[in-house]
Symmetry: C2
Subunit: 353 residues, 2 copies
DNA sequence: TTGTAAGCGTTATCAC
DNA sequence: GTGATAACGCTTACAA
């Protein structure tokens, strides 16, 4: 090939058949083709090095084989792993994935939804970053099937794949309570999405079940980064009756908590128990004091894409089916309630500042 | 819209103009349109909620606004950050990114290259995972501009964005030598790509400059994961004359080294200096003993995509221009050569096993 | 079993 | 300044 694009017609001419026949061979249907003809055509395709034009196909079919994936931040291992699961299933099913990075911005989500519609995508996998319904409405208006992942949006009826965040919060709290902790600090995110709200409900339910009174002062809000955990820990340890254990939002967050604790002279877990929900850390050896609830990110990507492809193929209406992936508590060290002495000590240290 | 797709014709009819006029307004050219007409049309677009069909456009233009991105593993922060840079520049320039995950497999790269060609992509950003030239040849055959990132392929003439891996290896080695280390262990990858070969050259050059004899026994090969560092460290510490410092492939790897060292009762960095090239760890507080050379991953993504877009627009022939992003040594702790006692101790411990 | 041809929604080259 | 119309490469209903 030089200037001219190689098309199905070229293949047909070379093989001495009609373009339609070439189509039937490439698509393996819907019409049957004689073996001898098939042979000739496949030979011609090979010799010419022909690649079918997916764009022309999409135009004709009014639908491309592209799946849109909208994630808030690919740098975050959580989302990156979901993306990997999506890509895997897509690849296996001959779909391609357009990567859309919302950067936690609603207007970018919106811009991407329009772009995806413009590309006639077959469907969309979406980890939303707000409770805004407009992007979802737009997708519905154009009859694009979509699956929400990790968070659900109130007032949006659509299939969703989430993890059992309630259980995540419940299990980790229950574990700490079983070790004797009564004052358990909790780091919540500052934005209200379904996932963190569910986790907090789990935390409260576990406390209630154990007849531990819920103390709002033990709940602090922040982000999920290392520095947020660091700050949250300092905040929690400076209150009147400081916690003996802290539940962080995720590992990154938890390491921040641990670093703050170490800086204050507290040993983890002897003086302060630290637990995380969602294991982001790559090292399985480096943070023995840390107990976490594992979130199956890759599996969420897999499950959501399988579901989406079903929706695409069946073209059934998307009803709201919420599928929960199970979570697993991973206890790395069990330490019961520390003597309160070091905490008191720290408290006074902080007050002196 | 219900069953029927909303097209440019609908807009034209509604606005009482011809479809061509609508085109000129949407594309802002190549023909001028009277302001009053423009107003009418924009109004109609808004009222109908019309989205242009990118697929039809791509077919007509013989080229889509999609950029293919081939990366080995999105779970690895390194590649995920490159991807983020790519996506950002693409978004700013109205390109979309198809995410292709090669899983380090040459045949998957190949499959994706064909898929991308089929989608009439405008160009490809590619982090290759082997020295195989076939995928590159295929891209050239279809006149697809592409940019290699992080690694170059011998015998493939194409623009490449890499970091100065030689400097990375050189600087970190020089730093350790300046602390007095003479026996510096080096963990190399087991696959030969340009990046690790360049780093090793840097290591050797720094040794030579300091008149330290290169000892092949101090170089061990493995992967870049945590466990690989762990194993490599044990291997390096068990040789006749064990190193007093170890250069790991990246942070993940380095933490494995540290964990192995800790397990053997060695304190880092007092008893063993550990350095990494490429900071993957999210925590800036947690690993104070670790000195690294930072690799600007995001910036590589940015630079490569800017270059690719230039190639796409200028449609200039891709010559081999290798652009190096600079690297920065980040010293977190400086410890000179430890007494050899603990090393000896460990050595005998290992031998006893 | 195979060939012919209409049409998918654009863009661009004609006319007017 | 604007309107008609011929491609772009493919799928598939309809002929043969």
């Amino acid at each position: 090939m030089v200037g001219k694009t190689l098309t199905r017609n070229d293949v047909a001419r070379k093989a001495g058949v009609s373009p339609a026949t070439v189509s039937y061979i490439i698509n393996d249907g819907p019409r049957h083709v004689a073996d001898s003809t098939r042979e000739k055509v496949l030979q011609a395709i090979k010799e010419l090095g022909y690649q079918p034009n997916a764009v022309a196909r999409s135009l004709r079919m009014q639908k491309s084989n592209i799946i849109g994936l909208i994630i808030p931040d690919n740098k975050n291992t959580f989302f990156a792993e979901v993306a990997l699961g999506v890509e895997q299933v897509a690849f296996e099913n001959n779909f391609n994935v357009i990567m859309c990075h919302s950067a936690y911005k609603q207007e970018r989500e919106m811009a991407y939804v329009d772009m995806l519609i413009s590309h006639q995508v077959a469907g969309v996998i979406w980890i939303p970053c707000s409770q805004d319904v407009r992007a979802a409405q737009e997708l519905k208006r154009f009859h694009k099937p979509f699956v929400l992942v990790d968070r659900v949006i109130s007032n949006v009826n659509s299939p969703s794949i989430v993890v059992d965040n309630f259980q995540a919060g419940f299990q980790v709290t229950q574990h700490l309570v079983s070790l004797g902790h009564q004052k358990i600090g909790y780091i919540d995110r500052s934005v209200d999405m379904s996932n963190n709200m569910d986790r907090l409900r789990g935390y409260r339910a576990a406390l209630e079940e154990a007849n531990v009174k819920f103390d709002p002062n033990l709940v602090t809000r922040g982000g999920f980064r290392h520095e947020d955990g660091y700050a949250a820990c300092k905040r929690l340890l400076s209150i009147q009756d400081p916690p003996t254990a802290i539940i962080a939002y995720n590992d990154m967050n938890a390491i921040g908590v641990m670093d703050a604790a170490h800086e204050l002279g507290l040993r983890v877990p002897q003086d302060l128990s630290v637990a995380g929900i969602d294991n982001l850390a790559f090292s399985k050896y480096s943070f023995p004091p840390l107990t976490t609830v594992d979130i199956p990110k890759f599996e969420m990507g897999i499950a959501s894409t399988k579901l989406l492809i079903e929706l695409i193929k069946g073209d059934s209406q998307s009803e709201q089916i919420i599928t929960c992936c199970t979570v697993h508590l991973k206890v790395r060290s069990s330490t019961s309630v520390p003597s309160t002495t070091p905490i008191r000590l720290i408290k006074s240290l902080i007050e002196m500042e």
